[in-house]
């Protein structure tokens, strides 16, 4: 049994600092195990959010040695334990306490996206869909809403443009709706105006940190950008719209 030092950020919205805790390390342990051990033995009030401990619920997001990670899926044998392991909350969101952040903005942002609107069902009341079409959407629906992609997105993290840009998570969400073979709503206008898709300059930081391996930038955001251009910037379509006296977008 070896011992390692965990340098954990303790504090709240008014500020805080790192504190060192020693924890025993056993085979197969993940960062969340160490946090729980410290919580049970040394710091009962150490705040951490977690649920499934199996990488499925997306609750225990944090920055481990500066990398946005799920604590439950970060094994200690992947880290250098000869120096302290730093654990701090996601920095793009306001602090609540210790490792817990206020992610409520994400829930508000999601509500602004137009909901799923299916085309009419077939005669027997059900729909047909090819597996290959399902799979394209299923990639996006793997999202566990850990918000790590939001945490690293520089538009949110560095520029704090929470009012202007809904972030990669909600681009993925929109992509899942737009590419659902049954959905018949159109979200290009919202993407352009309310949801700020233009702010993404495809640096792919979000894709790199996604614990579900969703190719956020290439498969979700870029196709959505193309949709916006197709639907809102096509010069020939624009001429037709003007001639028909159609609505301006």
């Amino acid at each position: 049994m070896t011992t390692a030092t965990f340098r954990i950020w303790r504090g709240d919205a008014h500020g805080g600092d790192f504190r060192d805790y020693a924890a025993e390390v056993s085979e197969g342990m993940v960062v969340l195990d160490a946090v729980h051990q410290i919580q049970a033995q040394q710091a009962g009030d150490l705040a951490v959010r977690w649920n499934c401990k199996a990488g499925k619920c997306g609750s225990c997001s944090a920055e481990v040695n500066g990398n946005p990670r799920l604590m439950c899926m970060t094994r200690l044998n992947q880290l250098d334990l000869s120096t302290p392991v730093t654990i701090e909350p996601m920095r793009a969101f306001p602090s609540i306490r210790d490792l817990v952040t206020d992610v409520s903005w994400n829930f508000r942002a999601k509500k602004t996206i137009r909901k799923f609107r299916p085309r009419p069902a077939e005669a027997d009341g059900t729909w047909r869909m090819a597996q290959v079409d399902a799979e394209r959407v299923q990639e996006f629906r793997k999202c566990i809403e850990c918000f790590l992609c939001q945490d690293v997105c520089h538009v949110l993290r560095d520029h704090h443009m929470f009012e202007e840009f809904v972030g990669p998570r909600h681009m993925v969400f929109t992509a899942a709706l737009e590419m659902n073979p049954l959905d018949k709503d159109r979200r290009a206008r919202d993407l352009k105006h309310a949801h700020g898709i233009g702010y993404c300059n495809i640096t792919k930081c979000c894709t790199k940190v996604c614990p579900e391996g969703i190719t956020i930038t290439d498969n979700a955001i870029i196709p959505l950008k193309e949709r916006v251009i197709d639907q809102l910037y096509d010069p020939i379509a624009k001429v037709f719209r003007v001639l028909r006296g159609g609505r301006h977008v």
């Binding site: 197969g28 499934c52 729909w127 659902n180």
Partner: protein, 604 residues
């Protein structure tokens, strides 16, 4: 009077997993105001962990399937102590609930002609589980969440209910606290739906998250409602056993549905050695036939790995006890062997079981396409729960409803895989509908201020004792040891009496627990508040398990290893007696209508 914030709803739903969300959506659709309390953030509830699928007789893959077969399978799996009315409604309504999910945006895997694909699962005669790879629960909760947020439901996240408030016999509200600031909240409501899930955290080895502390069970019990069938706890046969920190995490039954086999250290497929009489006719008697079944051959019978969970768990325990286990005290589950049978096998496995691949790769450094997994039983589900009316889901307390895992009845002595997600949908909807109806017919109840101040005072006591008191985690760990060791998969009367004594000691210790720090997002405080619930459900499980002197489904008695016909005629009820002690009584199972009896006979 304590300081608290007041919220008023017609219907308050406690719990925001599949059942709670579905209930909230339905109540809201029925035109009443709805509050939804989540113990965690919205969309993180335990439903996300469900892997295999939603059982519904859509008959998309095998047209011989129908609600009748599903009903008969559910009753057989539950060893006939189920609430037959619930099993009937469940089988009849599940297909509509699945199609409804699709109309709300769920994207299921497809058949070659574009319909919802269904897979094999233990105890289901035909491929019946609508699924999305092995992350069906996530798909379900996300669909309900994304639909629900546009229904005008007031969501109270990271909020825990401590007590139900009553006006005479009926419920009038609930009192709890929100984690972020640690402030109290009072909810006035005409009807309350409990959808709080299970009790797995009463055990040391469990697939359940920290939230599963029997909250709804205890809230109902304390409010005077009946708990039913609490002795029936499901130990899922395949949890991870190594490394220690992941012990108990679920390995989906879907692995076996896709052709995975169980082997002991001698390489023997031991499941062939013990096939129960009532399943012999529908179980393969050789490996070849079993394999063909998993690949969709309709003339084949299912492999014994897909027998019911209670049985498979006991067979695994037997192998381990006989010294034929794996190095870390489990047995081997091998899916990699199918590479010899399917083209591009490794890719096929990854595609069918993506999160299992991911889970073992990341947590155990093991590639399931190359090596067998080590697995062993893990506490997974409680069949017992709040006793409800089969049609309306109302408990014995007027205005108090329950749905999903925290309610009892549909599953009897053992739940079939896939029947939980469908249960959440079918009875979540019913609970929401009838809670709304009830709320419309009732005036707002009166809140008794004494109940409120008592609850608040008791909740704050751990702070008075501070860090001088015993830590809450130590009591929780001790309780988990007691239940794991003495009221686990194999039970004995003497051990269970010992468990009762120890639970009593732990009850005393829990009243001396102290926590440091302040009320804002304090997990130690929360752990202290959970103890009452864990102790209550543990006592109920133990007392009922002592009373049921036979072995049936999830309940196995070493001292009564056989099923007793006479015990198949009653359910057990745990209720708070007049002197506040727990009373256990027998309740005869009502006579099943003739047409349902005939269905069971026909399907034998």
């Amino acid at each position: 009077m304590p300081d608290y914030e007041t919220h008023e709803h017609d219907v308050l739903v406690v719990g925001a997993g599949g059942a709670g969300l579905r209930a909230a959506i339905e109540a809201s659709a029925n035109g009443v105001s709805v509050g939804l309390v989540c113990k965690s953030l919205l969309g993180k509830a335990h439903t996300v962990m469900a892997e295999g699928g939603i059982a519904a007789a859509l008959a998309n893959v095998d047209d011989r399937d129908s609600w009748k077969v599903h009903f008969a399978d559910t009753m057989r799996g539950g060893q006939y102590v189920n609430n037959w009315r619930m099993a009937e409604l469940h089988a009849k309504e599940a297909p509509d609930r699945v199609r409804e999910l699709e109309s709300w945006g769920a994207v299921f895997d497809r058949t070659s002609d574009g319909r919802i694909l269904q897979r094999n699962f233990g105890g289901h005669r035909y491929p019946r589980l609508a699924h999305v790879g092995d992350r069906t629960g996530l798909e379900m909760i996300r669909t309900l969440q994304d639909h629900g947020i546009h229904q005008g439901i007031d969501v109270h996240m990271e909020c825990t209910i401590l007590r139900l408030l009553k006006d005479g016999d009926r419920v009038a509200g609930a009192f709890g606290y929100e984690r972020e600031r640690g402030r109290f909240k009072l909810f006035r409501a005409k009807a309350i739906v409990l959808a709080t899930g299970g009790i797995g955290r009463a055990y040391k080895i469990t697939s359940n998250s920290w939230e599963y502390t029997g909250d709804g069970h205890t809230l109902a019990y304390d409010a005077g409602a009946d708990l039913l069938d609490m002795e029936f706890v499901q130990f899922h046969p395949t949890g991870m056993v190594w490394p220690p920190s992941v012990r108990g995490i679920l390995v989906t039954e879907g692995v076996r549905g896709e052709g995975g086999v169980l082997k002991n250290s001698e390489g023997r497929r031991f499941m062939f050695d013990d096939i129960p009489e009532n399943y012999r006719g529908q179980t393969a008697d050789n490996e070849e036939e079993g394999w063909r079944y998993t690949q969709g051959d309709k003339s084949s019978r299912r492999p014994p790995e897909l027998l019911t969970r209670d049985h498979v768990s006991r067979c695994i325990m037997r192998e381990v006890k006989a010294g034929r286990g794996s190095p870390h005290g489990g047995v081997f589950l091998d899916i990699s062997w199918i590479k010899a049978r399917v083209p591009n096998g490794a890719e096929h496995i990854k595609k069918k079981l993506p999160s299992m691949y991911h889970q073992f790769k990341q947590l155990a450094d093991l590639d399931i396409t190359e090596e067998p997994m080590e697995v062993g039983p893990t506490t997974h589900y409680v069949m017992g729960g709040v006793r409800v009316d089969g049609d309306t889901q109302m408990s014995t307390v007027p205005g108090l409803f329950a749905a999903g895992e925290c309610a009892a009845g549909i599953n009897g002595a053992n739940r079939l895989g896939g029947n939980s997600l469908s249960d959440l949908l079918v009875f979540g909807k019913r609970a929401g509908e009838f809670a709304a109806k009830y709320a419309k017919s009732q005036p707002t109840g009166r809140i008794n201020p004494e109940q409120v101040s008592d609850t608040a005072r008791a909740a704050l006591e751990p702070f008075d004792r501070g860090t001088a008191g015993e830590g809450p985690y130590q009591v929780q760990y001790a309780l988990q040891e007691v239940m794991q060791d003495l009221v686990g998969i194999v039970r004995k009367e003497s051990e269970m009496y010992r468990a009762l004594d120890q639970l009593q000691e732990l009850r005393a210790r829990s009243s001396h627990v102290g926590v440091g720090g302040h009320r804002e997002y304090n997990p130690g405080w929360h752990a202290a508040l959970d103890l009452h619930n864990l102790l209550t459900v543990s006592e109920a499980v133990t007392r009922c398990a002592i009373e049921r002197k036979e072995s049936r489904g999830g309940h196995f008695r070493d001292d009564y290893p056989e099923k007793d016909k006479a015990c198949g005629t009653f359910n057990l009820i745990a209720r708070k007696g007049r002197d506040a002690r727990m009373e256990v009584t027998r309740e005869p199972i009502p006579e099943m209508p003739l047409e349902l009896k005939q269905i069971i006979e026909e399907m034998k």
